[in-house]
Symmetry: C2
């Protein structure tokens, strides 16, 4: 099977930030591996250092950690986004985050060595990483603002807006831990209109 079809979306994603030379396309395509995950499958375990980064072609992945024995959602990642355990992957150290698939998911997987090769030989890859992190950064700033100064209801509305493609695909309890509000409160909010 040629790699051409399966790399469409990811190439488009790169080209939001940089121009892809045909050589870089080839090198990327050679290194990307398609991985499928079943619903509920654990993708990354916090007891290991994260060695892989996943570009989601289809599906929904949750990043979570354990606090007082309960799973707390850090965020959700969906189509056309990269997901990994960020600090673990970047700094190659342990971190608290687990990843699992909330739906049957298809991911393009790039491992650390291959990514390192690309960074070493294609400065535009470094640029891509820098610029795309800038985008994510902005989302984080918005989220922090939303956490600080909004009621539970506004938090939920903000969530539905930012995740409007996927919010209905996620169990209530995971949303409530993501927002930092009690599941009962979220249930009541949803009931009222």
């Amino acid at each position: 099977m040629t790699n051409i079809e399966k790399t469409d979306e990811i190439f488009q994603h790169f080209e939001k930030y940089i121009k892809l030379s045909s050589l870089l396309r080839k090198e990327l395509a050679n290194r990307i591996v398609l991985k499928s995950f079943k619903k509920g499958e654990l993708i990354h375990n916090a007891d290991t250092i994260c060695k892989k980064s996943y570009f989601i072609q289809k599906g929904l992945i949750r990043t979570y950690f354990i606090k007082d024995g309960k799973e707390i959602t850090e965020y959700f990642s969906a189509e056309n986004e990269w997901v990994n355990s960020p600090r673990s992957f970047i700094q190659q150290q342990l971190d608290i985050y687990y990843l699992d698939a909330l739906e049957q998911s298809e991911c393009l997987c790039l491992n650390l060595q291959d990514l390192g090769f690309l960074f070493d030989h294609f400065p535009e890859m470094e640029r891509y990483a820098r610029l795309s992190m800038g985008t994510v950064f902005g989302h984080y700033m918005d989220r922090i603002t939303s956490m600080r100064f909004t009621t539970a209801k506004e938090k939920y509305q903000h969530f539905c807006e930012t995740y409007h493609e996927i919010y209905h695909r996620i169990p209530l309890g995971m949303v409530s831990s993501y927002l930092g509000i009690a599941q009962e409160t979220l249930s009541r909010i949803r009931a009222e209109k």
Copy 2:
């Protein structure tokens, strides 16, 4: 005046992430401009697109925005950190953030064109940006966790830990808006021990 003395800290900062060639050192030193700000001085106004990035050698800078007529602190930046209006600077668009000096401050200033030149000619600068953003990213993740699941008291304790070099240099009202708690509540927390 030669540039050598004044670039010590910033070079050290770069070298946490990359090796600086002597050529890059020279190019950096030629482009860096020392800027002083008086206490209270506005460094960046939200009505303009951010064109400069500041590395703080000495002093304390606040990033804030206006909500309902009140200044809300986004974060504080101190010695050996870069500060700018991130989305505005990276994407060259307007954003809501203002920067001002909470103390008399000395900054090494690098403007967008010069930084662009360095990114274009020194791939290791791209790498530096990517890696150092990774560090800041981790702090943001921690902060979001702290916002969601902690009492006001714990938030303040977490703040004192992460900002332990500077927390006593910051007016109470600015800390309370940073933490998203009422100034009166913070005052009571501080009183109790």
